[in-house]
Amino acid sequence: MAFLAGAVFAVGFICLLFIIRLYYIVKNGSNCKPGSKGPVAVLVVAGSGGHTTEILRLMESLSAAYTPRHYVIADTDRMSEEKICSFESSKQNSDSESQFSICRIPRSREVHQSWSSSVISTLQALRFSLPLVFRLRPDVVLCNGPGTCVPLCVAALLLGILGMKKVLIVYVESICRVQTLSLTGKILYPISDYFFVQWSSLRDKYPKSIFLGRIV
């Protein structure tokens, strides 16, 4: 009986620590300056179709300081890999040391998939995301909306909570989103370090967001 009470207390205490750490991590994102120490390692989440196009337009603008670049795509995505490879080869300079890699994880959710099975497949994707993020230890996770980014961002957050490394979460909501955030956007808005929207109507609704006009 006392043992049970003790166990409940211990679990409750750990949860409290967890929440305090989470709050601290999210609060202090802006103090983290990975660029001041050298190259910035980026984990780039590439969704299907338009998501990949948008994220590659953003990647195009980033300087050579952002390296290595680890692209993560869903296992059922065939087209993104080709787009990424041709983008990276066009960026390759003779004296550049830029490196990139492509990793695959199970898709969190297919288009038209029901809500209940989406939760299960997202948890499944988390099983792959955790070891991947723990191994790569990026400075920044860059994502723009596909469900694939949720487990990866959760893994990145966990790295910070456990005190292993602070990983910045940079989210750019798709240009498609004018009046409402995507489901992924709504989930990641409270925990992102930098949350970009591309239309002023969203900036008005989500005060923590950053609005620089259309950026893709």
Partner: protein, 164 residues
């Protein structure tokens, strides 16, 4: 030959392919002077054969590495509301008619099509109003679409992350 290019990106949109190849719609296209119809059908189950539409030259395929050429030679682009397809067509300076897919979850694509339509960058309709739109459309009201500025994003991020 005046050409219409239809694209559904990486999705499937059988309703659009069916509508655009229906006799009334082909008739509407011909009445506007279009003589060639190129269909990019993506993952859809309908892949019309070249001879399935009398009165108009028809080509259909699923995917290409790049649809830039097809966009370049089109006089009108008819597209689903996906960001990539729209941005590519608008970026090439083409007249764009966006067709909304009512079967998608929450149909958020409507937001962007509506906004870009309000800003006079494209026309939009649904499959059921496609023929009517093609008959009545006035492309001269469309305004040029300026590209987005990813450099603003890069500059902001460099500053925020302390990149030298």
């Amino acid at each position: 030959m005046k050409t219409v290019f239809v694209t559904v990106g990486t999705t499937s949109f059988d309703e659009l392919i069916e509508s655009i190849t229906s006799p009334e719609t082909v008739q509407a296209l011909k009445a506007r002077g279009y003589e060639r119809l190129v269909l990019q059908v993506g993952r859809g189950s309908l892949l019309p054969s070249a001879d399935s539409c009398p009165h108009i030259t028809l080509e259909a395929y699923r995917f290409k590495d790049s649809i830039a050429e097809d966009i370049k030679y089109a006089d009108l682009v008819i597209s689903h509301a996906g960001a990539g397809s729209c941005l590519e067509s608008l970026g090439a300076g083409k007249s764009l008619l966006v067709v909304i897919n009512n079967k998608l979850m929450n149909n958020h694509q409507l937001e962007m099509a509506r906004q870009l339509h309000m800003d006079s960058h494209l026309l939009y309709c649904s499959c059921s109003t496609l023929t009517e739109t093609l008959r009545m459309m006035n492309l001269s009201v469309l305004q040029p679409f300026l590209p987005g500025q990813p450099k603003n994003f890069a500059n902001f991020l460099d500053k925020a992350l302390g990149v030298q």
